[in-house]
Assembly symmetry: C2
Homo-oligomer: 209 residues x 2
């Protein structure tokens, strides 16, 4: 019988409310209401709503840095790659409130801007590592200019797929399926794969639908 600390309950509940309703629409009152605690109690644990957001961001940042620490000079298989994408989309989906109203959130929590940009950079770097690994293994053929464009496109998609997907299902906002995002990312790379790899990649990607 592990009793979850109130502080953590606040974080968990805030996260899920932020995700489903959008951070700006979630008041401290709503959070405490949902938890059946008093607003005063919430403010005992956190000095402000911004502190909650910030702490959630830090958790997100830690997860991402961990995930994006893709080793260079290592041969990556297609399966590893799609698994990586899967984990990535899952992490983004779990903190999707950040992306859903990104400009708004970052403008109100300025301290997070630089750190968010750094995550973005790391994302692009990770994609580049993967592509270069595939290229070394002769699984991918791509020119420099295309590679740059592709990596940017992958980063964009990794960020906004879940927000874009939510748009299409604005009615039921509870769940987001990361699968379709993985599929889409794989298909961005497919044209640059060697012919035999292409079929394999398509096969893998279909599993995510």
């Amino acid at each position: 019988m592990t009793k979850v600390k109130t502080r953590d309950r606040i974080l968990n509940t805030s996260l899920s409310l932020f995700n489903s309703l959008g951070e700006p629409n979630v008041t401290t009152l709503l959070i405490s209401d949902e938890l059946d605690i008093s607003p005063g109690n919430l403010y005992y644990h956190f000095r402000s709503k911004g502190d909650i957001v910030e702490e959630l961001f830090i958790a997100f940042e830690a997860e991402m840095q961990d995930l994006l620490a893709v080793p260079e000079d290592v041969d990556i298989s297609l399966d590893q790659q799609s698994f990586f994408l899967h984990l990535l989309f899952e992490a983004v989906a779990r903190y999707r409130f950040l992306y859903q109203d990104l400009v708004n959130v970052l403008s109100r929590y300025e301290r997070l801007q630089a750190r968010f940009k750094r995550i973005l950079k790391n994302k692009t770097r990770a994609f580049r590592s993967i592509c270069e690994s595939l290229r070394r293994q002769n699984m991918m053929q791509i020119e420099q200019e295309e590679l740059d464009s592709l990596c940017e496109q992958l980063t964009l998609t990794a960020c906004y797929w879940s927000a874009f997907d939510t748009l299409s299902h604005l009615d039921d906002r509870e769940s987001v399926d990361p699968g379709r995002g993985v599929y889409q990312m794989m298909h961005l790379m497919v044209p640059y794969f060697a012919t035999d790899v292409q079929e394999h990649a398509k096969l893998i990607s279909r599993d995510y639908l």
Copy 2:
């Protein structure tokens, strides 16, 4: 000497403030302040802030429907296509406040959701028309499954490129360059072009950098 009506000045100023600061961060007081009119005056012309947003949206919608009315069964050249993309990005950039905090904005102005989704659908349809036209002209080779994925990707990019781009320049938020977006969109299609068309397409796309 054409004296611009206050009502229109309110719309114009609101649009540019929304774009640069984000709609949620713009108060009615700020708008009237910027225009050197009283808040009361603003409310003489618009019953609410929401009405301003809605009217701007209607203008955006009209522009988009106009632009997206791509005729089927007409041969489209590469130049026409890139010009179309150019106009599209320009329009989106001019109303980028809608996209920057899409989920937030749409959640507060529920009446716009369905209409926004319709624009999205039309966008995808327009891209499909273009691709099918290029395919008929043997300029593009693509299977059905890839086509679906590509059109979705084009729609996603058309929506979020400017928001994504803003992220990279969160410091100076005044101007957005649509060119890079066109470049990116072209490069999404390049892999599916016939070999000789590819070079032409890359050439065109570079002009937009």
